[in-house]
């Protein structure tokens, strides 16, 4: 499934930021993308796949003789193997649990992670559906969310403007209205003012998000994001529920 414009924008922003940083050292094993194994290596490996759109053969070297090779296109692993490139096996979505287990096992054993990116010598896996990062995340044991690229609350707030009817940032005191729904912003202000009048629990140590929707006659839902620094209130149409959750669930 193609990503939405917000995901594309965030990915582009991450790539540009990375390009601005000094290039990682390249050795005969490839470019260093993780200095340790375990979760760090797994995150780097998944990020590498997530950033590969054109068909490429990625050869990951985890040190200590561990090598993993996969053909990736459009951010999906189409074929995969833990040895020589000739032994790559074409994969489909039902193979996701096995692929996830293999990636996790490889990352755990790795001491650092290097990658070599080559053009796929022939279109052997063309047409294969393969597995995507979301497919794999379902099966990665522990589902450590470090594998999901995190964003700041400011970024999520900016992304929310495309679907929000109104946003109130209780942390900064600023509020503004999107799409001319000033009447809804008034409700958010009242909620924030009443909140500060009491009934506030202890500030959470990590961002927590809550959404409420009313009955069928209610045309908007309310999102409350509780941060260490304060609260952000967002009103949005219920049809944007998935977009809203996808946007704010990455805030860490």
């Amino acid at each position: 499934m193609p990503d939405g414009p917000m995901e594309e924008e965030q990915r582009l922003r991450d790539v540009l930021q990375r390009l601005a940083e000094p290039a990682a050292p390249v050795t005969e094993r490839g470019q260093l993308i993780a200095e340790t194994g375990g979760q760090t290596a797994l995150t780097a490996l998944l990020r590498e796949i997530a950033e590969t759109v054109l068909p490429r053969r990625l050869r990951f070297d985890g040190g200590m003789g561990g090598v993993l090779t996969c053909d990736v296109a459009e951010r999906r692993i189409q074929s995969f193997g833990t040895g020589a490139a000739e032994a790559l096996a074409e994969i489909a979505i039902e193979d996701a649990p096995d692929v996830a287990a293999a990636l996790q096992c490889f990352s755990k054993a790795a001491v650092a992670l290097h990658v070599q990116r080559d053009i796929v010598p022939h279109d052997s896996a063309a047409g294969a559906l393969g597995v995507s990062i979301p497919d794999l995340l379902h099966h990665l044991a522990g589902k450590d969310t470090n594998t999901v690229p995190k964003v700041s609350a400011a970024t999520a707030r900016a992304e929310s403007e495309s679907h929000a009817l109104a946003i109130l940032d209780g942390a900064t005191g600023s509020d503004h209205c999107v799409k001319g729904q000033e009447g809804i912003a008034v409700h958010l202000r009242a909620l924030e003012e009443n909140w500060t009048a009491g009934a506030s629990p202890d500030a959470p140590t990590a961002p927590m998000c809550q959404i409420w929707t009313g009955g069928v006659s209610d045309t908007f839902a309310i999102l409350l994001v509780t941060l260490e620094t304060g609260r952000i209130w967002v009103a949005f149409e219920p049809e944007h529920l998935d977009t809203c959750v996808a946007c704010w669930s990455r805030v860490g």
Partner: protein, 127 residues
Amino acid sequence: MAVRDRLDDLRSGFPGCSIVAFADLSTGMVFAASTREKTTQEKLDALCAKARSALSGPISARLADQVFQDGDAPSQAVIFDTASMVCFLRSDTAANEALCLVCDHPAPVAAMMARGAEVLATLSAEG
């Protein structure tokens, strides 16, 4: 179809969904649950308490008074962070009955809520 079968059916329809519980908000009791892995009664009770807080707590009362039309308490709530998500649905016909769904990211929340609402309507109708 038995209540448990309906809950199993709902949960298995969404691969990331690990728990579906049918609860009474007034008593805090879980009537029935379908779980992907073995869980404890304490965890189910805690889930029900969270449902009460989300659908009938102080903030939802404030939303009913100030925001939502007809003064009705919220019918649905979602609580999430970077690691997990819990969805709560209140029955349209029996206001104390609710479904609780625990799931991993990413999940098709809207589709899950819509399917959950259908199942909850059936359970409430069957009494």
